[in-house]
Point group: C2
Chain length 260, copies 2
């Protein structure tokens, strides 16, 4: 089972879009895929028309059980269908917004997700985790549980600063865990008509070349249309530019992680 | 002195862009404008080419002084030029990321910004505050200090859910302060080619009509070009569609807040 986390402290950079798109393409290729929504705002959960405000069985259950010194008898109630064959979702609950306040000071809550995924390792081929745009116990869990990290970064001037900050954060977390995390930068919202995009991409290549995916996710209005329809873009429009780009990312990920 | 806060818990919805654009247009019209960057990620600070990592005199100083039971002798060192005449910036510092942890449990830290602005009330005509995409002591301060709240919301399906959540948060904060806050919803990233945008706008009108600005901020690649150049869009390209739209918002704001 391969476990990938998609994370960036910056908001609105394409994290949820990346998890939904990559996950759906893998599922359409016949893989068994599980998506985890670790964002208390539950964008991915809402994407698939579940309600993070009203949800009983969510990622939150894993933490509340652990905090009470228990382990959930079965994880099945937490695994929801998405309408796409082979694509399951462990949804978020808005209750997760209280986790840092509840558990931040406690130790021993950093591997809750890792241990849950361990129990599911014979049921799925790929697990993808969507993170909120902030540090905290959920991001720490996501980083501890994954083998590979994807960092979507917008191709624009200000996003480069945010990337530096994200990498600095990763170093700190890595040092405290005694391991460095393997990561790949995914340039998003690329608009070849703007110098802002092309300049930012060039800067990314200069400063982060060895960790940068060789292609980009272009701006594509089909993403918004797909989210309005509640289906991944690869289902909504298999020949959309955005679908093509994420399909190319999936090929690259499959090719570059044989050892995992 | 009019004080406006721009806030939304959701990331990447156009908060910083709204503060920079509205502030610049007012300054270009001859008003004395102060922008406050309350986001520990300091996007607005970086926009104007200051470094939130390296900054000594920032919004953070107001809180550290108050926490030490002191008041800053003078606020002048906190007021930075932006390159636009009549437009000043009180920058953010990444140190602000620690404020909730440091001060969250303490009382009496909710009016730090309000009291600082009180001291500046004869020096500026308009103050605009840019907020981070999260609840916390900085957002509470921003809401306590403002007379008017602008909530930028993307015209797309998932953003409507985030808006409900934001309004619920406002109600809770309003109740605890014993006053309700006046707010206006600003539809952003409008793309008339997509049904997602037009449907979302219609839903906003149906559900929030009386609080909704009557126009929209359209998608415009000139925003990214302006941010690459480090100047507001109204300076970069006075005839850009995005400039026109924010100019129209400024007219509406000036017309609808005579009593403030
Ligand atoms: N390549 C793209 N072209 C056009 N729109 C896009 C693209 N990628 C994502 N979007 C849209 O941009 C918005 C933000 O994307 P998304 O929700 O994936 O970002 P995020 O990083 O998960 O945000 P958050 O930090 O709030 O969780 C969504 O409306 C999405 O549909
Ligand atoms: N109308 C628009 N058309 C095209 N691009 C836009 C528009 N408004 C904002 N942008 C761009 O979208 C990105 C996000 O905008 P912005 O930084 O203002 O959002 P934000 O809500 O402040 O984000 P955060 O939650 O991270 O603080 C920026 O790159 C900005 O230049
Ligand atoms: Mg997201
Ligand atoms: Mg911002």
């Amino acid at each position: 089972m391969k476990v990938w986390t998609v994370s960036n402290q910056k908001g609105g950079v394409g994290k949820t879009t990346t998890v939904v798109s990559v996950g759906a393409i893998l599922a359409q290729q016949g893989q068994r895929v599980l998506l985890l929504d670790l964002d208390p705002q539950g964008s991915m959960t809402s994407y698939f028309r579940l309600d993070p405000d009203g949800i009983e069985y969510s990622v939150y259950k894993l933490f509340s059980a652990r905090a009470a010194g228990q382990s959930l008898a079965a994880l099945d109630p937490l695994l929801q269908p998405t309408g796409v064959d082979g694509l399951s979702l462990m949804p978020a609950s808005t209750a997760m917004a209280t986790l840092d306040r509840q558990l931040g000071a406690r130790g021993g809550m950093g591997l809750v997700i890792a241990e849950a995924l361990n129990r599911l390792s014979d049921r799925y081929d790929y697990v993808l985790m969507d993170c909120p745009p902030m540090l905290g116990i959920l991001m720490v869990n996501a980083l501890a549980a994954c083998q590979q990290l994807l960092i979507p970064v917008q191709t624009e001037f200000l996003a480069l600063k945010g990337l530096e900050r994200m990498l600095h954060t990763l170093q700190m977390i890595g040092r405290s865990r005694g391991r460095t995390l393997d990561y790949t930068i995914i340039p998003t919202f690329f608009d070849r008509r703007t110098r802002a995009s092309t300049d930012a991409l060039r800067a990314m290549r200069d400063q982060h070349g060895e960790r940068l995916w060789s292609r980009v996710i272009p701006v594509d209005t089909q993403f918004r249309e797909a989210s309005r329809a509640g289906v991944p873009i690869s289902v909504y429009n298999p020949s959309a530019r955005g679908t093509e780009a994420y399909a190319s990312l999936v090929r690259w990920l499959l090719a570059s992680s044989p050892a995992l």
